[in-house]
């Protein structure tokens, strides 16, 4: 039985399990499973999936529902938290909420669980307004909608500021031989409100996991959101991250994606600008080796005038690693005075590594500034000579140059402890101790 067939037949059992939900949800799920039934998983025939194949990943015999008893101790997972900051935490283990690892709140801001939001009447209005409104109606998102039951629900109300960052962490224990996880996050940041979020998916064993995550984010008027995705998973963990962001007037949203691990990682990151003077930032650092595969598929949809978008993705690819960058920028006819920038710079540090990079600009307005640039290169020999002539050995010199190459993406990280952590991950990833704390 294929995974698709397995999922379709599991759906009936799942529906019974969640019979407490509203009619709204029952209808959404019913529609969604039909979409999934029609579309299934994307294949390479789909233009957006030309360079990324799910075929191998989908061959695993995934469990669709985890054993609810699976649990982990804080001491065993502590390294995966940014633990030197005071933060709210929403933590899941094999898709189930882990209250002993979490710290939530309901004081002026709601930082809690999607399952509560879907079941409790007090959240009904927000769910009706925002849930499944901007997620594209394709097979993967529909699959998530059909089966999702847990994830983070964050609502920062008007003029409020989350007093500390929020960490959303999804652990998978590997107690099932292979696990399919489908977290669903909803983040609503009202007018003038602000929040910083760090998201991580982490498997704790070498058993295969596949995560098909959907996150919808709404930024109200003048809202400010900083979102950080830390992707440094184990060698058998694959992630399809589907993130949709709707921005309103004068809001500012930045998403940083740090991709250092995992087997296959696909980031579908979509921005929709629905007001004037909006700022959208999409930045990423990818450093992978072995046979790892990271695919960034971005969309910025400029709908209104006087908005900006800034994209800057850096990639370092070693061994037989494969990178994909497909950055689409659409500027509608009404979106005059748009400033849209896109850069994708790559270093190939091995002859067998591959990068596929494809900017896609669709511009219908005539008074705009749009630029894009892709580069693929190797380490500069003169720079290597310079460092080595100062006594820095070849290996360390390479690492320093790679660090320098990726560094400017970190400048806009607003949480110093996170920046520090990412720096350390980069140093670790580059396999060196370069003599000072990066």
């Amino acid at each position: 039985m294929s995974l698709k067939e397995k999922l379709l037949s599991s759906f009936i059992a799942f529906e019974n399990q969640i019979s407490m939900e509203s009619n709204l949800m029952a209808n959404l799920r019913g529609e969604a499973i039909k979409v999934f039934e029609n579309e299934g998983f994307p294949t390479k025939k789909n233009e957006d999936w030309k360079y990324t194949s799910l075929t191998k990943v989908l061959k695993e015999d995934f469990s669709v529902f985890a054993n609810t008893e699976n649990t982990v101790e804080y001491k065993d997972v502590q390294p995966y938290f940014i633990h030197d900051i005071d933060s709210y935490k929403i933590v899941f283990v094999d898709g189930q909420y882990a209250s002993h690892l979490s710290k939530t709140t309901h004081e002026a801001i709601d930082i809690c669980l999607m399952s509560s939001a879907l079941n409790k009447p007090k959240y009904q209005a927000v769910i009706e307004n925002y849930f499944n409104k901007i997620a594209q109606k394709n097979g993967l998102n529909a699959l998530n909608t059909a089966f999702c039951h847990e994830g983070a629900y964050i609502h920062i109300k008007r003029n409020k500021l989350s007093d500390r960052p929020i960490q959303i962490i999804h652990f998978s224990t590997g107690k099932e031989t292979a696990m399919l996880l489908q977290p669903r996050n909803l983040i609503v940041v009202d007018e003038n409100a602000q929040v910083q979020i760090i998201e991580r998916h982490q498997s704790l064993s070498e058993n295969p996991t596949l995560t098909n995550s959907v996150t919808e984010i709404f930024a109200g008027k003048r809202a400010v959101i900083d979102y950080y995705k830390v992707q440094n998973d184990k060698s058998e963990a694959s992630l399809i991250d589907n993130t949709f962001i709707e921005q309103h007037k004068e809001s500012n949203v930045a998403v940083h994606t740090f991709s250092f691990g995992g087997k296959l990682t696909r980031n579908n990151l979509n921005f929709y600008q629905k007001g004037q003077r909006i700022d959208s930032t999409l930045k990423g650092v990818t450093i992978i080796g072995n046979k790892q595969h990271v695919d960034h598929n971005t969309l910025v949809h400029h709908i209104q005038p006087n908005c900006e978008s800034h994209q800057d993705y850096k990639g370092i690819f070693g061994d037989s690693a494969v990178g994909v960058f497909n950055g689409k920028v659409v500027v509608e006819k009404e979106a005059q005075k748009t400033n849209a920038f896109q850069a994708n710079n790559n270093l190939l540090v091995n002859d067998k590594a591959t990068i596929n990079t494809k900017p896609q600009l669709e511009i219908f307005a005539d008074d705009v500034k749009c630029s894009h640039g892709c580069t693929i290169g190797q380490l500069d020999e003169n720079a290597m000579f310079y460092l080595r002539a100062r006594g820095i050995p070849e290996r360390e010199a390479k690492a320093l140059l790679m660090y320098a190459f990726a560094n400017n993406v970190l400048e806009s990280v607003k949480i110093p402890q996170l920046k520090n952590r990412v720096n350390k991950l980069i140093a670790q990833k580059l396999g060196v101790n370069i003599g000072f704390d990066l």
């Binding site: 720079a383 002539a389 000072f436």
Partner: protein
């Protein structure tokens, strides 16, 4: 200290150095002058060990040992320092962190522990004062957005920190205004001892007013065609290089 014997070097099958002999003893300052394209920077790179150059013939001895087979960093660890004509920008790595890394890697190669932080700070303070470098400068990214003068001052600062036996200054005067030139030269002079040596590579005589050489060599078409005392530099400044070229071509 440095004995170069009949060095022939080529890059991409093109001969650049065609039999160079040079003998530099501890305590000496040598200058190599010559027209553009004569091979001056190649000679500097070959001594420092740049791998793009292929040594066809000859040998380079440093403190009596053949360093021809040593890597770039191994030569640096032995005490060879090259001040670059075009120092490279390294964003995200501060001047301080860079020089700490360089110094401690050199110590590691010699089997020494990292320099204690207090000693490191003290040395950084002393040497940055010598080069009139202020504290803010040290926390900037290496060479990123530096003016020509700042880059060269930073090169000599690194030299001061690393205390090499042989310092090769490749066109250190290019892009310097007179004040920066004075500071850089003053730094080099103060670092000079009877145990180390300096090789100044320059197109113009200007720098040699400040760093006074014991010997001047003229490089032309990959060979040293004339050697003399510091007065040779004045002669070149006055007459240009054409008379040298003529003299060589008449031979």
């Amino acid at each position: 200290m440095l004995e170069i014997k009949n060095i022939h070097a080529q890059i991409d099958e093109k001969s650049i150095l065609k039999g160079i002999n040079l003998d530099i003893k501890a305590g000496e300052v040598h200058a190599i002058m010559g027209p553009n394209g004569s091979g001056k920077s190649t000679l500097a790179s070959v001594i420092a060990g740049k791998e793009e150059y292929e040594i066809e013939q000859g040998s380079i001895l440093f403190d009596g040992k053949d360093i021809g087979e040593l890597s770039v960093e191994e030569r640096a660890h032995q005490g060879v320092f090259l001040s670059f004509q075009y120092p490279v920008e390294i964003p995200g790595v501060t001047v301080t962190n860079f020089i700490k890394t360089a110094l401690n890697e050199t110590r590691k190669a010699k089997g020494l522990e990292d320099m204690p932080a207090s000693e490191m700070l003290k040395r950084i303070r002393e040497k940055s004062e010598l080069l009139e470098i202020d504290r803010k400068f040290l926390s900037r990214s290496l060479n990123e957005g530096f003016s020509g003068g700042e880059k060269k001052r930073n090169e000599i600062f690194q030299m001061a920190m690393l205390e090499p036996k042989l310092a090769i200054l490749d066109e250190t005067d290019s892009g310097l205004d007179i004040d920066a030139l004075r500071i850089v030269a003053n730094g080099v002079n103060k670092l000079k001892t009877k145990d180390n040596a300096v090789l100044v590579i320059t197109h113009y005589q200007r720098l040699l007013d400040y760093i006074v050489p014991d010997f001047v060599h003229v490089l032309y078409d990959g060979k040293i065609v004339k050697s003399g005392g510091k007065e040779l530099a004045f002669e070149l400044e006055e007459k240009g290089y054409d008379w040298i070229k003529k003299e060589v071509n008449q031979r």
